[in-house]
Amino acid sequence: MGLAAILAGRLGGEDRRIFVPGATTDGHYQIEMACTACHTASFASRDDLQAACEGCHADALDAARDSHPKSKFTDPRNADRTALLDARYCVTCHAEHEPAATHSMGLTVPEDFCVLCHAGISDERPTHDGFEFTTCASAGCHNFHDNTALYEDFLLKHAEAPAVVPGGAIPERNFASIARYVETYPIDAYPLAALTAADADAPASAQLSPASAPPRGAGASAAAGFDAALLEWEASAHAANGVNCTACHAGAGAWSARPGYEACGACHAEEAAGFRQGRHGMRGNAAALGVELPPMPVAEARLPMKAEPRDDAVDCGSCHPAHEFDTAFAAVDACLGCHDDEHSLAYPSSPHAEPGSDARAGRVTCATCHMPRVEKSYEWGAYVHVLVQHNQSDGLRPAEKMIRSVCIECHGLGFSIDALADAELTRRNFDAPPGAHVPSIDLAVERRGSAARTTLNHARQGANE
């Protein structure tokens, strides 16, 4: 058999791995077998590759009010800068399959790349005189893309915020109160009214099927399993809001013993979409990848994971097991069922875990920070959905992204910036006040001072007098 034939035979399957030129980054390794997700055509141009990057990442850049949008680099007046750093293309700074050159944030350019365009910064900002260009983006002061929590006026506005904001709490979820506005929500079939076990609409055949009502424990019967499931459901938010058995189990018509992602997504579309964008669910993002990859088993994660769930694949039910759908379980216990790194293991001894750390929800959980509650406004504010961001990777690229969506609900800006800059403290899950100090707020105050702040306010009034 000729080489071509061998290669052709291998192109379809797992053996495609032989074509992966170098280890893929943490962000992409899960989907490296979907070569065509990025390499959309053989002999694809740089622009084709760029279109693939934007296909998955454009929305997040947009949401971050990207400080360096592509348009800055396509502008002919910046042609000399673009010649130095061609930031029209993501791969200029984030080359893939180059493990030796890759550092934090998937960057493959030297850390001091800001110097290429901002060499004269200390003329404009004397406070920056003598700063190393390796520190611009690594010291907690600036990011290339997302500076929504780091811009000068924001620093000044929050300059005096205390370390801990008394009464800090994350917003309350509100799906039940806005479900009626969600176009795809099946409110006619399942009106928002509390149901009891007597209302359950599971067909008799399902009630005795071990598939949909798994027996609990050795020797237990399917019927007992069904009864247990019924009690759990009756106590759940689903029963309290009219979501009957068939809503999930027969959404597609025929009874399904173990409804999956599609069933959840039929009502919880935003959460399901977020899940598909994050590391937990990205393999199933067929719309973006062009193919559906099998879910990744826990053992293939690059972060330290516990041994027991190694063959489990992550889907909605991994963290939200039926029929309790206990959000408290999903917010901590589910995470710690798999995650085995120091930060996760240190959670129980973190002040975040103490009762009362969140004035409303009881305590700060893993999900409080990694799956924050975000407000999504529809129809220009006609209704606002406080939803749980199920893309747990979203706030980590880089960690300062968490400041606005999470930290400043309960902490001052300066405290938050310092805490995130303290890698050791992060590893220990914030068991003490920050040991690091990022001088960004000090520098802003030094440059502008309180008098300057008045000037700005005055300028604003000037525009409005």
Binding site: K70, K72, D75, P76, R77, T455, A459, G462, A463, N464
Partner: protein, 197 residues
């Protein structure tokens, strides 16, 4: 054929008449593809639209709501401050959207006394052009320049302090390098580029 009820500018009229030498210029599929305008005429027309939209936004939206009705402020951080976007930001957002859709032309708002240092003149044509329009009020500056291996027709138009808000905001902005602007002053310029090949 029905003609639009508006006075056609001389430039456009000349062009359209040339194209309309036949019976009906609008009916002919090819007529729209005939080169009619010089890069300079094109830049002038683009600028007319930009300047008009910019003035309308400043007067009808910003001035009316912030100065007259006093119901909202205008702020650089308009999202966080729940305010109106500044006229210069409206201009930049438009230019960024154009850049994402076309390479046929590009434009930006610049100044020798820019609040945002990225808006300072960078290329030789920008430096000469901005100095020229500041020294010769009411005049424009046209030139050709080569950037990144491409030759551009580059036009620089004065951007004038048309409202008190222009002056007060720039004079008092902490990042402004110049604090003595007066109404009617040239505060900067609009630079339009059209690639020639």
């Amino acid at each position: 054929m029905k003609r639009p009820h508006m006075k056609r500018p001389a430039i456009a009229a000349a062009g359209l008449c040339a194209a309309a030498a036949g019976a009906s210029f609008l009916a002919s599929a090819d007529a729209g593809d005939e080169p009619v305008f010089s890069p300079k005429q094109l830049a002038d027309m683009l600028h007319l639209v930009m300047e008009s939209d910019r003035t309308v936004y400043t007067r009808v939206i910003v001035n009316r709501l912030t100065l007259q009705d006093k119901v909202i402020t205008a702020s650089e951080h308009f999202e966080d401050d729940q305010a109106l976007a500044l006229p210069a930001q409206m201009f930049r957002f438009g230019s960024e959207m154009v850049a994402s859709k076309s390479e046929d032309f590009s434009y930006s708002l610049q100044s020798e006394w820019a609040v945002n240092r990225q808006n300072m003149p960078r290329t030789d044509a920008e430096k000469t052009g901005l100095a020229y329009i500041a020294e010769n009020p009411g005049e424009r500056y046209y030139t050709e320049e080569e950037l990144g291996g491409v030759t551009y027709f580059t036009a620089v138009y004065p951007d004038v302090a048309v409202a008190p808000a222009c002056v007060s905001c720039h004079n008092e902005h902490p990042d402004s390098p110049r604090r003595d602007f007066e109404i009617g002053d040239v505060m900067g310029g609009v630079v339009i580029r059209i690639p020639l090949e």
